[in-house]
């Protein structure tokens, strides 16, 4: 079974809605250990994504993700912009020209995205960044793929792992980004970027579960 361009669009639209809804929450997390703008930045970015996607909804998966990446790079700024922008640009590059993609392709693309984030931000695991949500999610997805799980189960498991990774940032001392200025004072707070990354993967799993494959097929 596969993920269609339509499901990718519904994922991005769903995540945009989630970010808008969680704007204050994400900003609050960032105010505690950063500069209090993460939700604002991400919301500005994904509102732009919606605008840029509207005219190209029928494009292939790769170009949808690249469009998203460009929109984020050009509108978010801060650390989130280059990081999420690179994530989507790299993921999109991995899926060039595909109208629909299999579970393994999708996971590989997410992994390429993570690789881009790490190259751009040079964060290691447990530095208390978005990497701490993304990396375990990819690991878990790979494991489920290996066990032959369904696409839905793979993405649900990835989202669960991201959630655990997000929560696991709370006791960590930040070593990257603004939060690292706080040293010990960063301990006890959940990382905003890890939180937005978890929400992103949960939105992916939800949209794929929500839009049954056949329905989507019929529209392509």
């Amino acid at each position: 079974m596969a993920v269609t361009n339509r499901q990718i669009v519904s994922w991005l639209e769903r995540y945009a809605a989630v970010v808008a809804e969680q704007k204050q929450y994400l900003t609050g997390l960032d105010a505690a250990i950063g500069d209090g703008d993460h939700g604002i930045n991400m919301d500005r970015g994904f509102q732009t994504v919606l605008v840029k996607l509207a005219p190209v909804r029928d494009n292939d998966v790769g170009s949808l993700l690249k469009t998203t990446g460009m929109a984020l790079v050009g509108s978010v700024g801060g650390a989130g912009g280059p990081l999420y922008g690179t994530f989507f640009l790299r993921a999109g590059a991995a899926l060039d020209g595909k109208a629909e993609v299999g579970a393994d392709e999708l996971v590989a693309a997410l992994e390429a995205g993570l690789k881009g984030v790490v190259e751009r931000g040079k964060a290691n695991r447990n530095d208390k960044t978005m990497v701490d949500a993304l990396a375990p999610a990819i690991d878990r997805a790979r494991q489920y793929l290996g066990e032959g799980a369904s696409l839905e189960d793979v993405l649900a498991a990835a989202a669960d792992a991201a959630e655990e990774g997000m929560k696991a940032t709370i006791p960590l001392k930040a070593l990257k980004g603004r939060a690292s200025y706080l040293g010990e004072r960063s301990i006890g707070h959940q990382d905003p970027g890890a939180t937005s990354s978890y929400l992103m993967l949960r939105a992916l799993s939800d949209s794929v579960a929500a839009v049954p494959e056949r329905a989507s097929r019929s529209t392509t």
Binding site: I40, N41, G74, S75, P82, G177, Y181
Partner: protein, 342 residues
């Protein structure tokens, strides 16, 4: 208390949080049409006569809310272009790429970047784009804030007050016709010889957030505050101006360290909500402390030049001067915010 503070400090002379930056840029364009032109989407403030053939182009940028930095420093003898991001959020690569193209006079372009993860990454992406189009681009990162310890375990010291002094001094050098390598090396020298530390009496409010970035009691102050309201070294009881000046200045002096006999540029900066009379009170204490240490102030700057919206507080920056940096500090400058010799 906090609640009261919130609502009280929410008072701003703006139309909407979304339009604040654009409205201010239009105001700047109208007020300083003789010096700058402003392009929108992507937002860039460009020296009116850019590109200057054969002159190294200087491009800086950062979040808005620090005015006059950086847009107020575009003009003769300082920056060729500035890229204003959203409030407290670094600008995007397309802005810096456009600025780089607009000011490239063939001698290359220097990006002046404050050390924040977001600024670094966005400028990096911009440099990659610009180089892709064949531009010669160097970057220098300012990281003078001694409140943050520079170690493998942090993103490194933040770029603050020295950035303003660097833009002026390096701007004088570029105006004199130096090549990209010379300009780049001078920039590194200035950054290496400057240190800063700030403090806040009150928080600022990011308009889009609508409430103070941090709560602070009426008898407290935040020592080592960042220019985005990032918490600093410690939260202490409010002290007298003399005590505050001594903490900031001694920490700065001991970090470089500045030594007996050094000649320095002493820069006492207001955070945006602090009146000038208080900055002179602080400067007086800084001056007394330094003379006690046998450190000579040969140049000074007192005013609100790198701010944090309406935050009340101040920062102290010291830059060790030599004949080269002194010469370029004294060189003519004509920008919206700094002007002399012309």
């Amino acid at each position: 208390m906090a609640q009261a503070a919130v609502t009280t400090r929410l008072k701003k002379l703006i139309n909407t949080p979304e339009t604040e930056v654009r409205d201010a840029l239009e105001g700047m364009a109208a007020a300083h049409a003789d010096l700058i032109r402003v392009e929108f989407d992507p937002n860039v403030i460009i020296r009116k006569d850019a590109p200057r053939k054969g002159k190294v182009g200087l491009v800086s940028g950062g979040g808005s809310g620090h005015e006059p930095m950086h847009g107020g420093y575009v003009g003769l003898g300082m920056l060729d272009a500035a890229c204003p991001g959203a409030v407290f959020t670094s600008p995007t690569p397309d802005q810096m790429a456009r600025a780089t193209k607009a000011v490239d006079g063939g001698a290359g372009v220097l990006h002046i970047v404050k050390n924040y993860t977001g600024d670094i990454m966005n400028f990096e992406m911009a440099a990659e784009l610009a180089r892709g189009e064949g531009a010669k681009v160097n970057a220098v990162v300012t990281n003078d804030d001694v409140a943050v310890q520079d170690s493998l375990y942090t993103a490194g010291r933040r770029g603050v007050g020295v950035t303003v002094l660097l833009e002026k001094i390096v701007g004088g050098c570029a105006e004199a016709g130096a090549d990209l390598e010379t300009v780049t090396n001078l920039a590194k020298k200035v950054n290496a010889n400057g240190r800063s530390m700030g403090m806040a009496l009150t928080s600022c409010i990011v308009p889009a957030a609508g409430k103070p970035t941090f709560d602070i009691a009426d008898d407290e102050m935040e020592l080592g505050i960042g220019i985005h309201g990032e918490p600093g070294r410690e939260r202490t009881k409010l002290k007298s101006a003399d005590e505050i000046a001594e903490v900031l200045t001694s920490t700065v002096v001991n970090d470089l360290p500045f030594k007996r006999g050094d000649e320095v540029l002493a820069f006492v900066n207001g955070m945006g909500g602090t009146p000038l009379i208080e900055l002179y009170v602080v400067y007086n204490a800084v001056n007394k402390y330094l003379s006690g240490q046998g450190i000579k102030i040969s140049r000074s700057l007192v005013g609100s030049y790198i701010t944090s919206l309406e935050m009340a507080g101040c920062s102290v920056t010291l830059l060790k001067l030599d004949s080269e940096t002194t010469k370029f500090w004294d060189a003519p400058v004509h920008t919206p915010a700094l002007r002399w010799g012309v």
